[in-house]
Amino acid sequence: MSEAFPNDQLEAVARTIAELREADAVRLTQFKVELLGRKNGRLTQILRSLSTLPPDERRAVGQRANQLKREVEEAIAAREKELHTGAKSGVAADLSMPGRQVWRGAIHPVTAVIDEICEIFRELGFSRVTGPEVETEEYNFTKLNIPLDHPAADMQDTFYLSPGVLLRTHTSPVQARTMERYKPPIRIVVPGMVYRRDAFDASHSPVFAQIEGLAVDEGITFVEFKAALDYFAKRFFSPDTTVRFRPSYFPFTEPSAEVEVQCQMCKGGGCATCQYTGFLEIMGAGMVHPAVLENCGIDPERYSGYAFGMGPERITMLRYGIPDIRMLFENDMRFLQQFAE
């Protein structure tokens, strides 16, 4: 240590800062040890010796020493960065190099589609509710006007857990549960998992999602039913989408309809996806069957309504061009990552 007095020592350290800003990597490391080393660093020693100074000097030296320590640390850090990015190495920093990233997670595309569908129906005043996946025959079939000894019950091959207890084959039981608990006006959408005894293949899964919808109020007509689903289809697909209603059969609706939209692949021209019909089925729907209203304690002379059900997996596959439903359950990172926002 050449300078005898702390103040002189400090100023000597201050002078080295300019030199430090130009140092190469080896010299920079030396500086670090020389100035800030735990044992013999010059600043370390000064700070350690503060207690030996007279009180008035101690305060001033202490402040100056701490300030210098910060400056030195900043200068070293800045120089290290320069050296690392090559800013002053004669080669300019290459800003085309990739930035630092973080992992981005994705909502599953089926969940995203479910959320989007429910959001659109929220605009039409539908609240979002759920119900149990384990159901009774009564709620899954009987209350919905599906007699167990009628071929209509075969439309859905059922997994049973015990006699009379089953895995719901559709989200429709929540219709009955809701109508029993609340009075009209009722407007609900019900997303949830359902079960059918279908072998896993490219277009079938034994477990899949469904969204049920139900509206019951005074004066709901077939015209309003069409209007609501037409609104949904145009909001979900595009405003110029053609929507078609075809007669169909579901035991719990009368009249029943199959709702179809113009094929999203060929815009109605006919292609393999729509089997050359130009249209794609997106949901089954209809006016609530009066027997269902009666079964749930609602007077069908006073109230009417409509109900619908759709398959989010199928809609997801149509929307994103996914060829195989199994991909939606494999959870391949390369697949899921494509849906990160």
Partner: protein, 785 residues
């Protein structure tokens, strides 16, 4: 249901275009899945007359035919030996493509040019005979396209029929719906060779005699109506071409004229019928009764079945000869030797047939129809037409009027339709005249009665039972597309949205923001412990149980990702889990959230110099804590037996985080996971805290902790003794030295008073308090520098 366009055309007496029919049927509720051309690939084949046949000059086995094709006579070399002058044959001119794809080209055969080709049945896909040229029995002049002369060119529509519409399982029914929109009446086509008249059945109660056969109806519940006719002196053999073509056009294989006639009736008017050989019926008797003890029957398919009391059996004097409505027995079937036929035309109870069909695990064209409901009122017409058809195709005479056993005739009451109800449900005024028009065009009888319409439902529409069913018919015929789409003002729903959905959405948001991808795994899987709820009728043992947790599915997903060499895996799922209840009953259903992470903590960056850090247990701990917070669960994550757990107020486990076992390849990193009950707890409202206006005082506290003391214990003391002035505590370092008895852990404490600037001595007092208690209670001391 396969529908022939030719057959429909015959019923409506109009030429039909298959695409137009398909569209109309779709808009009537019976979509067409496929339109299959039948022999349409014979469009280029014409009928020719062979004028002269001579030996090929250069080949013994070939002939040279002079063929009149309607415009000229051309020479055709032929290899078959059956061609005769003066007869007509199918001919493919040069350039024609045969059904097999072969294009006919003019070429020299043994020095003589052959202009086109005379065709065999197999070359035209009209049969299996490829030896001889197909000789045509036709009046059509030479040059006529083959398809114009023979009724074989057709289109087969594969119509999807919903279970409520048994009437659409036959051509007459499809034609009826189509006729209603085409405004054409439906009329059964004439039968070629129709004998012209037949006896009307004689209706009795429970027994009658026809053609010497005594028919007795005992099981009225299983068979409310049974008709039988006897035709004597038939000649069993192949059906005429027109009948074979009809059946082939819808994919049915012709068997013999009698059986083909009954099949024809099934596909024309939806009335299954069965023909017995009278000679094989003991008695001869037919008794319709329930099966008895230890009775069996060998069916047409060769299978022997038990015929017990749940089954409606058709029996002769001794044994069952058919399972009513399902299948006939082998021993009484019509064969080449049959001369006298007993024809059955019955109505079987739908539920009974369904039960029998399910118990026997078989479905036939007949059972399919009876199960959905046949036309109880059309049976007399059906049996008369069937008798005439059999006589037309197989000869013979009718042995007196058929018996018609119908003990309790069913009278269906009228349905009353209120025109204002139609408007009320459909939202559009439809005039009573139009309503009547729509209904009568479908065969309903409608007439005004007390301001309403009294509507009688025809027998073929068992699905129509109440007013709304009629309103659907009106909407269907008017066309769904003809209704406007018009929104009304809405009243808000009385149903509140489900809290759980809000919670789960929040969990998804938080976990995706932390870099995890949402997974969806199947809730059916292999058994997971004894709490797993079994499925009674699983598809496979791999999917025989409901899951009790989500982690197992996520681990399988991680393994699948490893299998495609993906090292960095971050997945979570929100889903249902199920626990069986002791003693059966409904299992307990819950919602869980779970996640797995493995691989690099961050995407590798070039500035890391090739070093990257993998996830470790501290990552999964914080992930778990984030999930706990997102779910809104109460309680603190605690350590227990080397892992972290969350327990509810009753001490029940409701979540954990740990390293998890998996089938991990050598190159993969460790896998960490967590699982948590996704209880639907409302998040407490956030209360705003005033921002501080006074400066903080920071103190670092390096402490020596004996081996058994945990950071949590230290923090509890610090928090308690720190009092109001202690703003925050952050553990920032741990050091374990070789010679140390315990370890050194360092915290940064921030002190602040909301209303004054703290002085060092204020803080010193607090620190001393903290250190005193730490030493006293935990033996923790400050570490000297």
């Amino acid at each position: 249901m396969n529908v022939s366009i030719n057959w429909l055309s015959a019923l409506l007496d109009i030429k039909l275009d298959p695409d137009d029919v398909a569209h109309k049927l779709a808009m009537l509720g019976a979509p067409v899945e496929a339109i299959e051309p039948v022999h349409q690939n014979l469009a280029g084949i014409i009928i020719v007359e062979v004028e002269r046949v001579e030996q090929h000059p250069n080949a013994d086995r070939l002939t040279l035919c002079h063929v009149n094709n309607g415009t000229e006579v051309v020479e055709v070399v032929c290899g078959a030996t059956n061609v005769q002058a003066g007869k007509k044959y199918p001919y493919a001119a040069m350039g024609t493509v045969l059904p097999g794809g072969l294009e006919i080209k003019g070429r020299k055969i043994r020095g003589i040019r052959s202009n086109g080709m005379l065709c065999s049945a197999s070359e035209l896909e009209l049969g299996t005979d490829h030896e001889g040229i197909l000789e045509l029995d036709t009046d059509a002049p030479a040059g006529t396209p083959l398809l114009d002369a023979l009724p074989i060119g057709d289109f087969c529509l594969h119509v999807e029929v919903t279970p409520n519409r048994p009437d659409l399982l036959c051509h007459k029914g499809v034609a009826r719906d189509l006729g209603a929109v085409l405004r054409r009446p439906v009329k059964l086509p004439p039968i070629p060779g129709d004998p012209g008249d037949s006896h009307a059945p004689v209706q009795t109660k429970k027994s009658g005699v026809v053609g010497g056969v005594e028919v007795t109806l005992e099981d009225v519940e299983g068979c409310p109506r049974y008709l039988a006719a006897v035709i004597e002196g038939v000649t069993v053999g192949p059906s005429p071409d027109w009948l074979q073509a009809r059946l082939r056009s819808i994919g049915q294989r012709p068997i013999n004229n009698v059986v083909d006639a009954t099949n024809y009736m099934l596909f024309e008017v939806n009335q299954p019928m069965h023909a017995f050989d009278r000679a094989k019926l003991r008695g001869p008797k037919i008794i319709i009764r329930r099966g008895g003890e230890s009775e069996t029957l060998t069916l047409l398919d060769g299978e022997e079945r038990t015929v017990d009391s749940t089954v409606t059996a058709i029996c002769d004097a001794e044994h069952p000869v058919a399972i009513g409505g399902v299948m006939g027995g082998r021993d009484s079937e019509v064969s080449q030797q049959t001369t006298d036929v007993v024809l059955e035309c019955a109505y079987f109870d739908a539920k009974r047939i369904r039960a029998t069909r399910k118990a026997m695990k078989m479905s036939t064209e007949a059972s399919y129809r009876f199960e959905r409901g046949t036309d109880l009122q059309g049976m007399a017409d059906a049996i008369q037409r069937a008798v005439r058809l059999i006589i037309a195709v197989a000869g013979g005479t009718e042995a007196g009027p058929p018996v018609d056993l119908y003990p309790k005739p069913v009278k269906t009451p009228a349905i009353f339709l209120r025109p204002e109800r139609v408007a009320h449900l459909l939202g559009v005024e439809i005039s009573q005249k139009d309503i009547e028009g729509y209904l009568t065009s479908l065969g309903f009888a409608a007439g005004p009665k007390n301001g309403r319409l009294a509507v009688h439902v025809p027998g073929w529409r068992p699905d129509v039972a109440r007013e709304e069913d009629l309103i659907e018919e009106i909407a269907r015929l008017r066309g769904y597309d003809s209704f406007p789409t018009e929104m009304r003002p809405l009243r808000p729903s009385s149903v509140p949205s489900d809290m759980a959905q809000v919670t789960e959405a929040r969990v998804r948001r938080v976990l995706t923001a932390l870099g995890l991808n949402e997974a969806r795994t199947l809730s059916l899987g292999p058994a997971q412990g004894k709490e797993a709820q079994a499925v009674l009728n699983p598809l496979s043992t791999e999917e025989a149980y409901l899951r009790t947790d989500l982690i197992a599915g996520l681990i399988r997903s991680a393994e699948r990702n490893w299998a495609v060499r993906e090292r960095n895996i971050r997945l979570f799922e929100v889903g249902s889990v199920f626990h069986a209840k002791d003693g059966g009953g409904m299992p307990v259903e819950g919602r869980h959230v779970a996640g797995v992470i493995t691989g690099a903590r961050r995407p590798p960056h070039w500035s890391d110099g090739g070093k990257y850090v993998d996830f470790d247990r501290w990552d999964v701990k914080s992930l778990f804590e984030e999930a706990v917070q997102a779910v809104g669960a109460h309680g603190t994550v605690l350590e227990e037996e080397g892992r972290w757990v969350l327990r509810d107020g009753n001490g029940e486990l409701c979540g954990w985080a740990d390293e998890v076992d998996a089938d991990r390849p050598a190159w993969a990193a460790r896998l960490f996971g967590f699982e948590l009950d996704a209880v639907a707890a409302p998040k407490p409202l956030i209360r705003f805290q005033s921002l501080p206006v006074t400066p903080p005082v920071e103190r670092d506290l390096a402490l020596l902790l004996p081996a058994e003391v945990t950071a949590r214990q230290v923090e509890e003391v610090v928090a308690r003794r720190g009092g109001k002035l202690l703003e925050s505590t952050r553990l920032f370092d741990e050091f374990r030295g070789k010679d140390m008895k315990g370890r050194s852990v360092a915290w940064r404490l921030v002190f602040r008073s909301p209303d004054r600037t703290l002085r060092d001595k204020d803080v010193d007092v607090v620190l001393r308090r903290i250190l005193e208690e730490l030493k006293e209670r935990l033996g923790v001391e400050r570490r000297e520098a």
